[in-house]
């Protein structure tokens, strides 16, 4: 397939993820949508790696996955801590860091 089709798919997934981040109120789901965006980036990276014949893209994609995994771990830890405090699990309610 043309490289461009993969890229369009990647763009589509990215935009869907972005819409989800802006729309959803549950922080868990927001994190999920964030994963979507990361995955879209991964797809683009791998596609380009194939197009240029350069393995670097795939290595980069693996690194992205590592980072995503770490971020998910910490983010979910935060959500659990928030839940333990009996705070509402709602992105709109958690806005102490303001001013």
């Amino acid at each position: 397939m043309d490289l461009i089709w993969y890229l369009i798919v990647s763009a589509l997934i990215f935009c869907i993820g972005a819409g989800g981040v802006l729309t959803r109120r549950n922080p868990l789901v927001v994190l999920l949508c964030l994963e979507l965006m990361l995955n879209a980036a991964n797809l683009a990276l791998v596609a380009f790696a194939r197009a240029h014949g350069d393995m670097g893209g795939q290595i980069f994609a693996l690194m992205v996955m590592v980072v995503a995994a770490c971020e998910v771990a910490v983010g979910l830890g935060l959500v659990v801590a928030i839940y333990r405090r009996r705070l509402p699990i709602d992105v709109d309610e958690l806005r102490e860091l303001q001013g």
Binding site: L22, V30, V91, D92, L94, R95
Partner: protein, 669 residues
């Protein structure tokens, strides 16, 4: 040693004294500091004497020497140098200043014992002498102004020496403010002169004044009058005189040194030194003469009625300085400087004796409460009488020769100066009167309780120390007078000093016996050689003797009048009642203080309040400070709004930024 080196030594010895005392103030005992201070001035005096002899050794033409130590600024065309001018006039002033200062230091060594601020006192006194010497030795306007300002500062520090006394600090501030007003006049006057001649050096200015200004040119007259303002403020002439009586709040040695012998004579020195300028602007000189004459009369009238011992002597000083100012403004230089010298002797002596009496009174200065000290304090009495006779112009004391010589010369000058001379004689009558009024009230008459105590050999001490003027209770810790009182009969230092001055007051006049000696006139010739009037005004010997004798007779009449009213069998109260209105006018010091308060102090205070409440509040606080800070606060509040805390809001901003960036690259590609 060359004459100029000696000149530097004279200048620097008191400075060394000050610094030494200041830096060892915590480690050496009090007495040592007193000795150090006295020694420093003694060294300066010896150097001055050697300087005098060295100067006399030189030929007549070479007696004006300038020695430059440092050249400050040759840029911007202003020639400021650290230079001293050694010539007969400055040597005379140095001798008088250092000589009288040495004796006063000796006096203070004994008088101020027991005061917690003893060390500070000697440091300040030495600093004062140093400043005064800068003033008289200065070779250019710049150093003159520096010395002038330092002397004002030293005066302030010494008047408010007992700094916890509110009356003393108020007096110090008053003196300083009026002095500063004079300083402004001095600096502005210097500027006017400089603008014309282009140089600040004295000798060069004197050479240039003839060519730079025409006779009585407006700028020169203005400059000279401004310089006179400075002189009047420093020498306590009307209308800048109100600080001098208040300055009596300082300790007696201070009054005797600064406000009798040295600082207040700075104005006289100024006019004498700058005589070429004044001779080239006769209008300004006339102003000087008139003010001098007015002051001598006004001060004498007030001296007739004041009841504070030191203030009588203060008004007497004001009056005598009026004589001197009148003299040097009328080109009677030698007589004026002669009177300066003799006046230093007997006025310092009078103050010292007054200090002794005040100590016997336990700090009280009120004439109304004194009496009968004649028998119990013979030495003090003797000194006071010697000083009083010299002041009144009785032969053969020094005042006889000096004061009336001024008047004789002025009569010789003719014109309006004759009127002033006659007024001078009226003033002499009043001088003799109030001087002996003071002496009769303090030493004759029924014994006051303090005198009674002293007659039993016991010096009076007040049960609790109070401020003599207001009656406030004080203590004897630092900042207030010490607990001890020293009278001359019991303190060796005081005796020596007073004795020395008494001798000088007696024999000092013999320098200028008309027709016999004219040492001072000859001595001062090199300084005044460029003045025609110096040689012109020369009454014949007969005329001089007549003038002197008239003065002596007037003085005797004055003393007799005082005896009639205040001596045995006199009725002072009836006399006062007859002239009640005039008496009230004089007691209120001719309402000068009230006038100055109304004209100057109140408008200034109003201006300050107005500036604070309106300008400061509205403009500075409101617009400048409030406006700028308010603008920044508004701006930051606007920026703060972005940080709402909503996660999605942040995410949206992120994505908008990202897409914006992409769009930018897209478009530019």
């Amino acid at each position: 040693m060359s004459v100029t080196t000696l000149g530097w030594l004279v200048l620097l010895a008191p400075l060394a004294g000050t610094l030494l005392i200041a830096f060892t103030s915590q480690v050496l005992p009090q007495r040592v500091h007193g000795a150090l201070g006295t020694l420093a001035i003694a060294v300066a005096f010896v150097a001055a004497v050697l300087m005098f002899f060295g100067l006399q050794d030189r030929g007549e033409e070479e007696r004006q020497l300038v020695s430059v130590a440092w050249d400050y600024a040759n840029t911007v065309g202003v020639d400021i140098q650290l230079a001293i001018l050694v010539d007969p006039l400055s040597t005379l002033m140095c001798l008088v200043v250092t000589g009288v200062s040495t004796l006063i230091h000796l006096y203070s060594y004994a008088y101020m014992r027991g005061d917690r601020g003893y060390t500070r006192f000697f440091a300040y006194l030495n600093f004062f002498v140093f400043s005064m010497l800068i003033l008289v030795l200065a070779a250019n306007f710049f150093l003159l102004i520096v010395g002038w300002a330092f002397v004002g500062a030293a005066s302030y520090m010494l008047i408010s020496f007992w700094y916890r006394r509110t009356t003393a600090t108020a007096a110090g501030i008053k003196a300083f403010v009026i002095n500063v007003a004079g300083d402004v006049g001095l600096v502005l006057g210097t500027y006017f002169i400089f603008k014309g001649t282009g140089t600040l050096d004295f000798l060069k200015t004197f050479e240039a004044v003839g060519t730079s200004f025409t006779e009585n040119q407006a700028e020169l007259v203005a400059g000279c009058i401004l310089l006179l303002v400075g002189a009047f403020a420093k020498s306590a002439q009307v209308p800048f005189h109100t600080w001098l009586p208040d300055a009596m709040e300082g300790p007696t040695p201070v009054s005797s040194l600064i406000h009798a012998a040295t600082m207040v004579t700075a104005g006289v020195y100024l006019i004498a030194r700058l005589h070429p300028l004044f001779e080239h602007a006769p209008d300004a000189a006339m102003v000087g003469s008139i003010i001098g004459c007015a002051t001598l009369l006004i001060a004498a009238t007030i001296g007739l009625v004041v009841t504070d011992l030191k203030r009588v002597i203060a008004y007497s000083t004001m009056s005598q300085i009026g004589y001197m100012i009148m003299a040097v403004s009328s080109a009677v230089y030698a007589a004026g400087m002669f009177h300066l010298m003799t006046h230093a002797f007997f006025k310092a002596l009078l103050f010292m004796a007054a200090g002794s009496v005040i100590s016997a009174m336990g700090g009280n200065q009120d004439l109304d409460k004194m009496g009968g000290f004649r028998k119990v304090m013979p030495f003090t009495f003797g000194c006071m009488v010697i000083g009083g006779l010299a002041l009144s112009g009785i032969p053969p004391f020094s005042g006889f020769f000096s004061k009336d010589e001024i008047l004789a010369y002025m009569l010789d000058r003719g014109g309006v100066y004759v009127v002033m001379a006659i007024l001078g004689y009226v003033g002499a009558l009043m001088t003799a009167f109030y001087t002996f009024r003071m002496i009769f009230r303090a030493f004759f008459g029924p014994m006051s309780p303090e005198a009674e105590e002293l007659s039993h050999g016991h010096l009076y001490h007040a049960p609790e120390p109070t401020n003599p003027a207001t009656g406030e209770v004080e203590d004897t810790d630092v900042g207030f007078p010490g607990p001890e009182h020293h009278i001359a009969e019991r303190a060796g230092g005081m005796k020596i000093a007073m004795g020395g001055l008494a001798v000088l007051a007696i024999v000092g006049g013999f320098l200028q016996i008309p027709g016999v000696t004219s040492e001072l006139h000859h001595f001062l010739e090199p300084t005044f050689h460029d003045s025609e009037l110096f040689e012109e005004i020369h009454p014949s010997v007969t005329a001089e003797w007549i003038g002197l004798l008239v003065g002596a007779v007037i003085g005797a009449v004055g003393i007799f009048g005082a005896w009639k009213i205040y001596g045995k069998g006199g009725n002072a109260a009836a006399f006062q009642a007859r002239f009640a209105g005039v008496h009230k006018f004089f007691v209120n010091k001719w309402y000068f203080d009230e006038a100055i308060d109304f004209l100057i102090v109140r408008p200034s205070a109003w201006l300050g309040r107005f500036a604070n409440s309106t300008f400061e509040r509205l403009f500075v606080n409101g617009a400048l400070v409030g406006g700028s800070s308010g603008a920044i606060r508004a701006l930051s509040a606007a920026v703060r709004g972005i940080q709402s805390g909503y996660l999605r809001y942040y995410a949206a901003l992120l994505l908008i930024g990202f897409s914006g960036l992409g769009a930018y690259f897209l478009i530019s590609a």
